[in-house]
């Protein structure tokens, strides 16, 4: 999970909502106050004069985005209604046939289903682990700083490197995991050949890879909780467990909400490198490989099978998913928000 998302990386911690209003801050703490202040600030800050100067400053950004985001997006829409092959260069208008083929294809059904299961598992497990560990690492214990750094560092590893490390770690003959399992239980599971195990492995690797990002944000949110709130709970006789679930967890709900969205987007898109190195979409289960997720299928169709129209149609469907996610975030992101102070 790169913080996202840097082409425009999907995991940006920023607001993902288009609009002229100042965006909701990544941490919704005091979001509305912030928005109001930002509105005023925007007026006060309009200091420099110049008719063309602002456009000159914006030009580099706008040109790059137009050429490498908007134009390809429009091209993708167009390609999705043609049956074409970008290598051969032929194309034939087919209307919505590409979409009909996809939505009627058992292979694509399975890919959608296993992507959904993968995303739900990765987001759920990832956020639970990150929350628990960030909470522990934010307690005033000796060496807390060291623990935090060690929990954050997977952020600096790429999905491809994560895939490489896990591939060796779970190598059936010489990997450390099977060496251990063999010594203790006398078993050597073939991790990448069994559909069930391979799926679990990709989930675990994704959770591990995303841990650093999630811990950073939860740590930040926990540190923003006013000490009086937790102290008051303690004085009222709450146990550590009650204090966490009844007081701290609700206060973290805006951050949890933000992280759910960034994690969904990250597990949809950033999983490619991991899957490509670790399992190459396999092993086969049912209609297709069990770790063939939506982006991997798009890559296979676009650059292996050269079914350009089908790949473009998949991109359009995925874009609809992203739009739904952003709309949901926009509509519900600022609700049920608990302001700290």
């Amino acid at each position: 999970m790169s913080l996202v998302q840097q082409s425009p990386n999907p995991q940006t911690p920023g607001p993902q909502t288009p609009g002229t209003q100042p965006p909701a801050p990544p941490q919704a703490t005091a979001a509305r106050v912030q928005d109001a202040r930002a509105d005023v600030a925007a007026l006060e800050h309009a200091t420099f004069r110049g008719r063309w100067l602002p456009w000159l400053f914006l030009a580099p950004t706008l040109i790059v985005l137009a050429v490498f985001s908007y134009y390809p997006a429009a091209r993708t829409l167009r390609l999705s209604v043609f049956r074409s092959n970008i290598i051969v260069g032929n194309e034939q208008f087919v209307g919505l046939a590409n979409f009909a083929d996809l939505l009627g294809s058992p292979v694509y059904h399975q890919v959608m289903l296993q992507t959904a299961v993968f995303v739900v598992l990765v987001v759920l497990l990832g956020l639970l682990c990150a929350l628990g560990l960030a909470w522990l690492a934010s307690r005033p214990v000796a060496g807390a700083k060291f623990y935090r750094l060690m929990l954050i560092y997977p952020y600096a590893l790429s999905p491809a490197i994560a895939g490489t490390l896990w591939l060796f770690l779970f190598n059936p003959e010489i990997g450390a995991v099977n060496t251990l399992l063999d010594a203790v239980f006398g078993i050597k599971p073939r991790w990448l050949d069994s559909p069930f195990l391979a799926f679990l492995l990709v989930v675990a690797a994704s959770v591990w890879k995303g841990l650093g990002y999630n811990v950073v944000f939860y740590l930040a949110a926990i540190q923003n909780i006013p000490a009086e709130v937790t102290e008051a709970a303690e004085i009222d006789g709450a146990t550590a467990w009650q204090g966490f679930w009844r007081v701290v967890f609700p206060l973290l709900s805006p951050m949890t909400f933000f992280l759910i969205f960034t994690n969904v987007v990250a597990s949809l898109f950033d999983s490619f490198g991991l899957v490509n190195i670790l399992t190459r979409g396999g092993p086969v289960y049912g209609q297709t490989g069990i770790t063939t997720f939506l982006v991997y299928q798009l890559y296979e169709d676009g650059f292996r099978n050269f079914r350009t129209g089908a790949a473009a149609a998949q991109a359009v469907l995925l874009l609809l998913v992203v739009v739904c996610i952003v709309v949901l975030q926009f509509r519900y992101g600022n609700r049920r928000v608990h302001y700290g102070a």
Binding site: Y70, L136, F272
Partner: protein
């Protein structure tokens, strides 16, 4: 008193136990890679987890034999160019959005924000067509640098940061006769190092981590980036020398970890805690 004391102490013991276990589990893939990258070919094939003295030989095999040095250099060029370009372009755009009033400002801002919904993975088929066909950039550095020079995230974070800087500063600058670029260079940038550092980390790491796009657009090996190079190393070396692959992985991790460690403080302050400036 004793009761409280005991409760706190046992709480800490559990905290340490769980955190230590978690840190070990989180670190184990990398620790395993580190150990294996120092072993001889025979040891790597065996169960031994004792560190050896062969890191330099393994690294040399990967660096020279499998061309890892070349891939690393390419990635360094790309990551530094993208990080520098994104930072400069985002600063300029945020300057326009915060310190100017102009027609269609809202529309321009919405246009920048909207691109957050268009990750490269979605556009890859059309982008490939455009970059390799129309622009004829296939196999050039331009193909993996130029499309990533603009950053909605960067514009957004700098804009938010600038808005929290008191307006009196820009008023004073204008009264003193300073132009917007002078103001940017003399006042805004010196006040923005935390945000710049935080963005540099995410931009460098994400540029260094590029995988899918270089995989499809770079055909010749001599321009390929480290992430794809590493996967080629697996194909070539996996049967013969996992030690070499692990040494390669360890080397590939070093630049982002260095950047991350150097800017860790800014990363937490300027970015994750961005609201509190």
């Amino acid at each position: 008193m004793p009761r409280t004391f005991r409760r706190v102490r046992w709480g800490h013991v559990w905290t340490h136990a769980v955190l230590t276990l978690a840190v070990l589990v989180v670190a184990s893939p990398l620790l395993f890679a580190l150990v294996k990258s120092t072993q001889t070919g025979a040891q790597v094939q065996g169960p031994s987890l004792v560190p050896g003295l062969h890191f330099l030989q393994n690294a040399r095999a990967a660096w020279v034999g499998a061309g890892l040095g070349h891939y690393m250099l390419n990635s360094a060029v790309v990551a530094v160019s993208v990080t520098t370009g994104k930072t400069l372009l985002s600063l300029l755009a945020a300057l326009a959005f915060v310190y100017f009033r102009f027609p269609l400002k809202g529309l321009a801002f919405a246009a920048v924000l909207f691109t957050l919904m268009l990750p490269t993975e979605l556009l890859i088929v059309a982008l490939f067509d455009e970059v390799s066909g129309g622009l004829k950039w296939a196999d050039s550095y331009a193909a993996i640098i130029v499309p990533f020079l603009a950053s909605a995230t960067g514009v957004l974070l700098f804009r938010q940061h600038f808005m929290n800087i008191p307006a009196s500063l820009s008023d004073a600058a204008r009264i003193d006769g300073a132009g917007p670029l002078t103001f940017l260079g003399r006042v805004l940038i010196p006040m923005s190092w935390n945000t710049i550092g935080a963005l540099a980390v995410i931009q460098f790491v994400s540029a260094w981590d590029q995988y899918l796009w270089p995989l499809v657009i770079m055909q010749s090996d001599d321009k390929q980036v480290i992430q794809v190079g590493l996967s080629k190393l697996i194909d070539v070396e996996a049967q013969s020398s996992w030690g070499g692959v692990m040494a390669g992985a360890v080397l590939a991790i070093i630049p982002p970890v260095l950047v991350f460690t150097a800017l860790q403080e800014q990363f937490s302050k300027g970015f994750a805690l961005g609201q509190d400036k």
